[in-house]
Each structure stands twice: as structure tokens, then as C-alpha cells.
């Protein structure tokens, strides 16, 4: 199975690799997946007073498609409001990266990571976590 050019691009030159200060109240951290399953994503967002994501960072343990999915997610998150970020759907990632069916779970994980990071931010700032659909993978 060949990888799409976009997957290769994100994999070779991943955007926004790194770590934000997880103790800061402006930072939300999502850690999803499990080492036993072969993929773990950590996605972090930094949010300003207007609920706009000013920075996003990731680190991923996983296959090329998982790395590309999380790299793309950070690219999309920057500059988005929390509400718009919540609306990112895994199928948008599938489409953008032309992921084959066997790699759809990588995009699902990226969506989960975004939502987990937002909820972490909300809880830190005294808000209720948003009820999430049971993840479908």
C-alpha cells in the first residue's frame, strides 16, 4: 500500500512537533491511544482569552498515517476558535490526507486527541467537559 503525497509530506516534515507547558491554565493536553495498540497521540493547544487557539503541538507514537493525521490536526487548529476546533471531523482528515480504509482509525485518534485537549482546557478553567460520543474504533 503506497502512502499519499500529503501523508509523506507531513511525515517527512511534521508541523508543530513539540511540547507546551501542560501546567499552564492556557494549555489543554489530550493523550489518546495506547502503546499496546501501536499508536499514542499527544496533542496540546494553547488558548487565548478570546477562546482562540494560538498554538498547537503534537507528539505521536505510531505509523506514518497517525503521525501525518496529528501533524495536520495541529496545522488546522492554529487560529481556530474552540468551537470551530470542536467541529473538526475525522473524515475531513481522511479526505485531506487521502487515507485508505485501513488507516481511518488514525484520523479517529486525531479527532479524539483534539477533543481530549479541548476538554482538558475546559476542566482546567472551571468549565464542564463536553460530553463526547463514544469513540468508534
Amino acid at each position: 500500500m503506497a502512502y499519499s503525497d500529503k501523508v509523506i509530506d507531513h511525515y517527512t516534515n511534521p508541523r508543530n512537533v513539540g511540547t507546551l507547558d501542560k501546567s499552564s491554565h492556557k494549555v489543554g493536553t489530550g493523550l489518546v491511544g495506547a502503546p499496546e495498540c501501536g499508536d499514542v497521540m499527544r496533542l496540546q493547544i494553547e488558548v487565548d482569552d478570546n477562546n482562540v487557539i494560538t498554538d498547537a503541538k503534537f507528539k505521536t507514537f505510531g505509523c506514518g498515517s497517525a503521525i501525518a493525521s496529528s501533524s495536520l490536526a495541529t496545522e488546522w487548529l492554529k487560529g481556530k476558535s474552540i468551537d470551530d476546533a470542536m467541529a473538526i471531523d475525522n473524515m475531513d482528515i481522511v479526505e485531506e490526507l487521502a487515507l485508505p480504509p485501513v488507516k481511518i482509525h488514525c484520523s479517529v485518534l486525531a479527532e479524539d486527541a483534539i477533543k481530549a485537549a479541548i476538554n482538558d482546557y475546559r476542566v482546567k478553567n472551571g468549565l464542564e467537559p463536553i460530553e463526547l460520543e463514544k469513540s468508534h474504533h
Binding site: E36, T60, C63, P101
Partner: protein, 403 residues
């Protein structure tokens, strides 16, 4: 040096040009059916087959009449296991094998279970070797066959075949071995080892795909298998079907070359493998899988902790290797062979198999070392698990969301 570099010689090997050369006449001028007993064309083909039979027999210390040509090791494994089960069912219905066997053996055993047979799947020790005591304890009066592979395809460990055969014989069972990875790479002698049935394949030893053989002992004891393919009664009634003459000639030539060049080649390859392993072990948190004493000369299986195998392979551009990780929604399960050594799933997901071969050069191995080191380092920079490890966080203390 040409890129990409092929280091997946346990999956298949390129054909040796000398093998191809031996095969070519049998496609065109010498195209006869080896079973055509009444004319020149048949005789010429039969001559080619007979010579190949001798070449195969000689490599494993057998006689020509004990070699049954098949379409490959999968067919040989099936014929041996199902054929013995059918032939000896009055004697008993129990077969013993190991969890690290190739799927061809495991699935043939599953089939036997469906037919009412009983199968014991022995676990292996942490180094991949079968526990001989446990083997002996597992034998019952119903045991007709013990089937343990010679050398493992994923980690390369070589089983104590001679000891296993002795235990099987002591209790009146036959001993069969899937020697696909071992024949042509290390000395295999059916008499010295006490082997009753042995499966081998041409394409793992620089021969063509689609041809293999099953060794079936004729003396002490005389072993019989029930045919699984019915038809013209070829191969002493054990495997019907017009013989694949060019393929068989190629298998014969491959066996001859392997026999003549095995000693020097095994030495050269194990030195290269050791260099590869030593260099890659310089990377922190890298682990060689399987017993490092009893093993094939050309395989190295290494886990690079905190990086995922498939992602790693993508970074090892221009290297054709194989990983114990399969990151597809169909199978999130990592290699069952590595798991049976007691490796945790995350280490199994982090494994890479390097399979060296006859055409692997020093320069290619050096290049592979460099590329692998860079790839591991790059992916660890991307890995949240590596960061946690560096910070001293125990990954087992985290509640992971299994998916």
C-alpha cells in the same frame, strides 16, 4: 550501491542468475512432460527432474526417492500434517506443534482439529526455544506427530531439532519439521537429526517461487502420507499433478549452490548480522529478540522501544525490511511470534526484522545501520512515549484508553 536495498530475505530471496540459467532450457526446448514415458521429450524432462531430486536429496542427506516435489513449503506442510493425520488415524489422533510455527503449520493443525484431531500448541521460552520437558510431558499414547520448525522466520531461532526428534521417537511418534528458513542456510541432515518429514521451499534459497519439496522418510521407519491432491498418481502417489519441471530444475540447482557455498556464506552473513546488531544496539532502549546463540546466520530482529515499527519503516527510506507491527484496522495485533516470547505488545509493535542474503554487501549493511539509526532518532523526537521515558514517567502507571 543501488537503492532501495533489499533486507527482507526471510520473506523471499532474489533468484540466483545461475539458477535461472539452469531453468531456461526447460521452458522451451526441454518442455516435455516428465510423465511422458514413451518419447524423447518426456525422457529429457524426466532426466532434469531426476537430477534435481538428487540435488535436493544431497543437501539434506536424504535419498532421491524420499523427495516429493510440491508447489512450495505451504503445500508441503499441509501434505505432511493432514497426510500423516489421515494415514495414521488408527494409531492415534494427537499432534504436537508450537505457537511460533508458520501459519501453514498452524492452520493445517486447525484443520486437523476440525476433523476431530487433538492438537497441542506448545508455548516457547522467552528466547523462542521449545521447552523439551514440556514437550515430553505433552506426549500421550495418542500422539502420532510432533511438528516443530527448524529455524523461525521472524526471529531466526533454531530449535533443538535432534533432541525433539529423539523425544518424539522415544514415544512412538513421527517427527516433522518445517525447515523452510533453515535448509540451504545451515547444515540440515535428516538422518543425523532424526527427521521423518521435512518441508522446504525454493524461493527462500535463491530459487524460483511456486516450487518446494516434502521429504518423506522411507527407511526406519517407512513413513507414508495420504495424498491431499488426487489425480495421476505422480510422486509415488503422494502428490498428483504434472511436475513443474523448470521450477524443479531451479530448486535442484538452488540446493546444489546452497550446499557448495553454505559454509563460507553462513560465516560471511553472521559476521554482517553481528555488525548490524552491535551497531544498532548502541541505540538506547533497543533489544535483540530471540536466542542469540541458537539461530540462523542471516536474521536480526530488533525492537526499538518507544517507536512504532510501521512508522519506523517509513522513515527507513530505501530499506526493504519487515516489522512485527501491523497498524491496520483489520489487525492491530502485533506479531504472534514476538508475543509468544513474552514481549509486551508495545515492544512487539516496535520491532524490525532485517533479513540478510547472498547478495547483501558490506556497504549495504553499513548504509542500513546509518539509515536505521537516523530513523529511530527522528521518530523518538516525535514520540510522546520517548519523552515520558526521558522524564522518568512509568508508562505502566498511565491509564491508556485501549481502542
Amino acid at each position: 550501491m543501488n537503492l532501495p536495498i533489499y533486507l527482507d530475505n526471510n520473506a523471499t530471496t532474489p533468484m540466483d542468475p545461475r539458477v535461472l540459467e539452469a531453468m531456461i532450457p526447460y521452458f522451451t526446448q526441454k518442455f516435455g512432460n516428465a510423465a511422458s514415458r514413451n518419447h524423447h521429450f518426456g525422457w529429457v524432462a524426466e532426466e532434469g527432474v531426476d537430477y534435481a531430486r538428487e540435488q535436493v536429496a544431497k543437501l539434506i542427506g536424504a535419498t532421491e526417492k524420499e523427495i516429493i516435489f510440491t508447489s512450495g513449503a505451504t503445500e508441503s506442510d499441509n501434505l505432511a500434517i493432514k497426510g500423516v493425520f489421515e494415514m495414521y488415524k488408527d494409531k492415534g489422533n494427537h499432534i504436537i506443534t508450537a505457537v511460533t510455527e508458520h501459519k501453514a503449520v498452524l492452520d493445517a493443525c486447525k484443520h486437523v482439529e476440525k476433523l476431530g484431531g487433538k492438537v497441542t500448541y506448545l508455548p516457547v521460552k522467552e528466547d523462542g526455544l521449545v521447552d523439551l520437558e514440556l514437550l515430553e510431558q505433552s506426549i500421550t499414547p495418542e500422539t502420532i506427530l510432533v511438528s516443530i520448525m527448524y529455524g523461525n522466520n521472524e526471529i531466526g531461532v533454531v530449535q533443538p531439532v535432534k533432541e525433539i526428534a529423539a523425544i518424539a521417537h522415544k514415544h512412538g511418534a513421527l517427527f516433522m519439521t518445517d525447515a523452510t528458513q533453515a535448509v540451504g542456510k545451515i547444515p540440515v541432515d535428516v538422518n543425523a537429526d532424526g527427521i521423518d518429514l521435512l518441508a522446504l521451499s525454493a524461493h527462500k534459497m535463491y530459487g524460483p517461487k511456486g516450487v518446494g519439496a516434502l521429504y518423506v522418510r522411507r527407511k526406519g521407519p517407512r513413513v507414508k502420507v495420504t495424498a491431499q491432491m488426487d489425480g495421476g498418481g505422480h510422486e509415488r502417489g503422494m502428490r498428483s499433478g504434472t511436475l513443474n519441471v523448470p521450477g524443479i530444475v531451479g530448486l535442484g540447482k538452488a540446493c546444489e549452490l546452497a550446499r557448495l557455498e553454505m559454509d563460507s556464506e553462513a560465516q560471511r552473513l553472521s559476521a554482517l548480522r553481528d555488525r548490524l546488531e552491535a551497531s544498532l544496539s548502541e541505540l538506547e532502549e533497543s533489544y535483540v529478540n530471540g536466542n542469540v546463540q541458537y539461530r540462523l546466520p542471516h536474521v536480526a530482529n530488533i525492537s526499538f522501544k518507544y517507536v512504532e515499527g510501521e512508522g519506523l519503516m517509513m522513515a527507513m527510506k530505501d530499506l526493504a525490511v519487515s516489522s512485527g507491527s501491523a497498524c491496520t484496522s483489520a489487525s492491530l495485533e502485533p506479531s504472534y511470534v514476538l508475543k509468544s516470547l513474552g514481549l509486551s505488545d508495545d515492544l512487539a509493535h516496535s520491532s524490525i526484522r532485517f533479513g540478510l542474503g547472498r547478495f547483501t554487501t558490506d556497504e549495504e549493511v553499513d548504509y542500513a545501520i546509518e539509515v536505521t539509526k537516523k530513523a529511530v532518532t527522528h521518530l523518538r523526537e516525535l514520540s510522546p512515549l520517548w519523552e515520558m521515558f526521558q522524564e522518568g514517567i512509568d508508562l505502566n502507571s498511565i491509564e491508556w484508553a485501549e481502542h
